[in-house]
């Protein structure tokens, strides 16, 4: 399944596979024991999840090793229900005694919780029946020296890319593999291994006493799908250098181009706004919006839970419910919510298999390339950075710090910073004029660049 770019990989993969299989067996045993203990203590229902993982990360800064970190994490979380009373506990110690103690603690806390008729496991018939292999596990048994070498190569490419690159925050290679097991008293018990690797680089450019920082990164479940170290370093440098000489803009209302890496956030806010808790509390500007037009009619968005190797792919959700593919936005119209079983019951709906979140949100391109989008915008703001948390899900009010480029005639004129972009998400979604073909795969939300019709830029 894997490529052979890294000669050591084949042998190490086998070794890790053995480890992981035994990890899954151990985790399954602990989860089963937790469920049995809960039953013994009188719980009418219970669920438990356990995970264990290990990894390595190496950071090189100014051509010297800065940190070498070995990661090893594990934990078990248990939730018990006494009819409709709920308690939960977790422990980082997977020793049988520590697990039993956590279950006891959850049971004792449940006695103080109020009767909540909606509390309980997801329905038994919704449990995943088969567990597809989603190609999530490509362990990388990287020797520390090899990790350091890759980080060194990455940073060196950034430092060498331009004379104005004068300093660095370093480059980091991280690799992590582990396993997760979930079980509940419906008899569901399943687990799977997964891995994730990343290489990132942040460098500083300086000119005339001003400094600018920027970064680039690559992340993947499979080491051979990482972008090359040199390309990441060079891209970080290009991004930092082009910010030099930034100025403020005058306050204006203009179109704004969100490049793919930032456009993801627009759809992240959307997921938050159609999530169960916010819908139930009506603490979202998209309350009661099902089957209504909430985006421009050219926008189509789907959840695709089973993309092989996808960063948010999962065979089942945090309650054991089978995940699926489904449309969320169809020609601008909202066709689904993001629900786990609890808020689904409170809303009189069915779970959508989203306990724990969305499993790959895919935004269809409207066919334009990135260059088409820039040309189509003609005059406006290309964003390169967003800052702060200025998004109010209750009202949709949106106001964030920004940096970017002023664009005239579809060409980048000069860098800008110390400005804000503001609007209301409900309006911004309807003003999406195009979604580019330049899809960014580095996250659970996959979208190309997004052109938004008109937003308020505050500056001078």
């Amino acid at each position: 399944m894997c490529g052979v770019d890294y000669p050591l990989q084949a042998t190490i993969t086998r070794a890790m596979n053995n480890t992981t299989q035994s990890d899954i067996a151990t985790l399954s045993e602990r989860v089963s024991a937790a469920l049995a203990t809960a039953r013994d203590l009188g719980a009418s229902q219970a669920e438990a999840s356990a995970s264990r993982g290990a990894g390595l990360s190496a950071t090189v800064r100014m051509r010297e090793v800065e940190t070498l970190e070995y990661h090893r994490d594990q934990g078990l979380a248990v939730t018990v229900f006494f009819e409709h009373r709920k308690g939960s506990a977790s422990t980082s110690d997977l020793d049988p005694d520590a697990v039993a103690e956590a279950v006891q603690k959850a049971c004792s806390l449940a006695q103080y919780a109020a009767e909540d008729e909606f509390a309980g496991l997801a329905a038994a018939e919704r449990m995943a029946r088969d567990i597809p292999d989603l190609d999530l596990y490509h362990p990388w048994d990287l020797e520390p020296a090899a990790a350091i070498e890759l980080a060194t190569e990455c940073e060196a490419a950034g430092l060498a890319a331009d004379a104005r690159i004068t300093n660095s925050e370093g480059a980091t290679l991280s690799t992590h593999s582990g396993a997760r097991v979930y079980g509940n008293t419906h008899g569901f018990l399943a687990g799977y291994p997964s891995s994730q690797h990343s290489l990132s680089c942040a460098v500083l450019a300086s000119e005339n006493g001003a400094m600018e920082r920027d970064f680039d990164y690559s992340v993947s479940r499979s080491p051979e799908l990482l972008e090359s170290a040199g390309a990441i370093g060079r891209e970080a440098a290009v991004r930092a250098v082009r910010r030099l000489g930034a100025r403020k803009l005058d306050t204006a209302t203009v179109p704004v181009l969100y490049p793919a890496r930032l456009a993801r956030s627009l759809f992240g806010h959307f997921v938050g706004a159609i999530s169960g808790g916010n819908l139930y509390r009506k603490s979202t500007f998209l309350a009661d919006a099902l089957n209504q037009t909430v985006f421009a009619d050219r926008v189509n968005v789907a959840e695709q839970s089973h993309i092989p190797g996808g960063l948010a792919s999962a065979p089942f959700d945090a309650e054991g419910v089978a995940t699926a593919d489904r449309p969320l936005i169809d020609a601008g119209v909202l066709r689904g919510y993001v629900l786990g079983s609890y808020y689904a019951r409170k809303l009189g709906l069915e779970t959508t298999g989203n306990a724990g979140g969305i499993h790959n949100l895919v935004v269809d391109s409207t066919g334009e390339s990135y260059d088409d989008l820039l040309a189509g915008m003609d005059r406006g703001l290309l964003l390169t950075e967003l800052m702060g948390q200025g998004v109010n899900t209750v009202t949709g009010d949106y106001s964030r710090g920004a940096a970017g480029f002023w664009v005239e005639h579809g060409e980048l004129c000069y860098p800008v910073n110390e400005i804000t972009v503001a609007g209301n998400l409900a309006d911004m979604y309807k003003q999406i004029e195009a979604v580019g073909t330049d899809v960014d795969l580095r996250g659970g939300i996959r979208t190309g660049s997004v052109l938004v019709g008109g937003m308020t830029i505050a500056g001078n």
Binding site: H71, G87, S92, E212, S283, V394, T395, S399, G401, G459
Partner: protein
């Protein structure tokens, strides 16, 4: 109620070392395994944290949850290099294997020497008790229910109340090759209230809370918890009347207390030792220079009793202290952990903090605030012909290299002709750290610290912090609204 007079070191040894029968010899062996040639410092950091939380929605306490995290982090520092490993099992073999892994940062060399251990001078800024045991579980539930009832009773427009209470007891023991052998027992509690109000189809939220290194009965004193509910409702109702915020640069008056998040973002992060050693901060190399108006004196103080951002010692065993960062406008101090202090030839300032045993210590803030000045709050508002008054904030963020920072106003008003006008909708404010404090033209005499809800994130690690300030007038910040500017 636990024993408030417990000795932290004794308690830490009992809870962290005794269960695995770890003796001085094991600690010594581990440090020796870390101390290969070229290693300047080897350190073991033992930690156990017991955390609980209770949450209320729809008028009922739906759930209590509890977690335990325990482990040891080991670190070898050689020059600017750090080797780090950790284990969530506190047993001798795991300690040895983590030590061997961390020491791989240097490849070979002869043995260094472990200095004899001595406990550092002790501060007692808070008692060594377990806050989760400071109130019976049934009383925690009753407290949340009372908050819910009282908050709903304030106004019929209140449609939802969400309240939560949480407590943690963290016990840490630091043992290092340069002689540190110190422990701290850290209680921390918080209570939060969020409300949704509705009027004529318009919905708004209000959010508040507080806490500190105290027992839960803190929230019962003077109906403090109910006061949080009242404050959340007040904010939400103000927002029902809010008009679009202006867009563009204007005079901004910042209220006292939590708006001190301005200082945290605009200058605090930029004065952390690591960024200055590496020359990546916009403040690097500016020691002694004028970076603020003469009215500004800013300190970081980890020694305020029972405050959320306070610590008896930092996570490297250095006692916390009060560090003056800016004195009458001049940059006079950085915040240091041991690594950066050593490399910069400076003193550690008790700012070496880590989220847990599984994270490396970094220079971090504790409680960061500006000292009071000469002006009355009302006098400052009255001095502004046209601008905004920002009374409360959400969070903020900074790019320490360019110096640009943001923070979002959650309750703000127009100022017209020296008087407060309409409330304005949520807006982000953006400014430039190295220049914003130079634009401070008035400083209030009303220093206030925040209520105790701050969480600071850096390099993926979260730690509790405090902020504070008196009312400030800043003669120009960019306000990111949608209205005419």
């Amino acid at each position: 109620m636990s024993n408030n007079t417990a000795n932290p070191l004794q308690l830490a040894e009992e809870r962290l070392l005794a269960p695995a029968e770890l003796k001085d010899k094991h600690l010594d062996d581990a440090l020796n395994a870390l101390l290969r040639g070229g290693v300047d410092t080897a350190e073991l950091y033992f930690q156990v944290a017991r955390h609980e939380s209770w949450s209320l929605e729809d008028g009922i306490v739906k759930e209590g949850s509890h977690s335990v995290e325990r482990g040891v982090g080991v670190r070898a520092v050689a020059g600017e290099k750090t080797g780090f490993a950790y284990s969530d099992e506190i047993i001798a073999p795991a300690l040895m294997s983590a030590s061997q892994a961390a020491s791989a940062i240097v490849r070979h060399g002869q043995q260094g020497a472990v200095q004899s251990w001595s406990p550092a001078g002790e501060q007692r800024l808070y008692a060594a008790f377990d806050p989760t045991a400071s109130l019976p579980d049934s009383d925690k539930v009753a407290l949340l229910q009372e908050v819910d009832r009282a908050t709903r009773a304030i106004d019929p427009r209140v449609k939802q109340v969400m309240a939560s209470i949480a407590g943690v007891q963290e016990i840490v023991l630091v043992c290092s090759s340069d002689g540190v052998y110190s422990a701290d027992v850290r209680p921390l509690v918080r209570l939060n209230v969020a409300v949704i109000v509705e009027d004529g189809g318009r919905r708004e939220q209000g959010y508040t809370g507080g806490g500190g290194r105290v027992a839960y009965d803190y929230f019962l004193d003077a109906e403090r918890a109910i006061g949080y509910g009242r404050e959340a409702v007040r904010q939400a109702l103000v927002n029902l009347e809010a008009v679009p915020a202006p867009a563009g640069e204007t005079v901004v008056v910042l209220g006292p207390g939590w708006p001190g998040v301005l200082l945290h973002e605009a200058i605090g992060h930029g004065l952390e030792g690591d960024f200055n050693r590496k020359g990546t901060s916009a403040f690097a190399g500016r020691m002694g220079e004028r970076v603020a108006s003469e009215l500004c004196t800013v300190v970081d103080d980890g020694t305020l009793p029972e405050r959320r951002g306070s610590l008896n010692m930092d996570d490297e065993g250095t006692p916390t202290r009060r560090t003056t960062l800016i004195e009458n406008g001049r940059l006079v101090g950085y915040m240091q952990d041991r690594l950066n202090a050593r490399l910069m030839g400076a003193e550690p300032t008790g700012n070496g903090r880590r989220e847990s045993f599984a994270h490396l210590p970094l220079p971090r803030m504790t409680n960061t605030y500006m000292l009071p000045g000469p002006h009355e709050h009302d006098e400052i508002i009255a001095s502004v012909d046209r601008g905004i008054y920002a009374h409360n904030f959400g969070g903020g963020q900074v790019d320490i290299t360019s110096g640009k920072f943001v923070f979002s106003a959650s309750e703000a008003y127009l100022i017209e002709g020296g008087k407060l006008g309409s409330p304005i909708r949520d807006a982000t404010l953006i400014g430039d750290g190295p220049s914003v404090l130079q634009k401070v033209s008035m400083v209030g005499n009303n220093l206030k610290l925040d209520e105790g809800v701050g969480v600071c994130g850096k390099e993926g690690q979260s730690v509790p912090v405090g902020v504070g300030q008196p009312t400030l007038r800043v003669d120009g910040l960019t306000v990111g609204g949608t209205g005419g500017g």
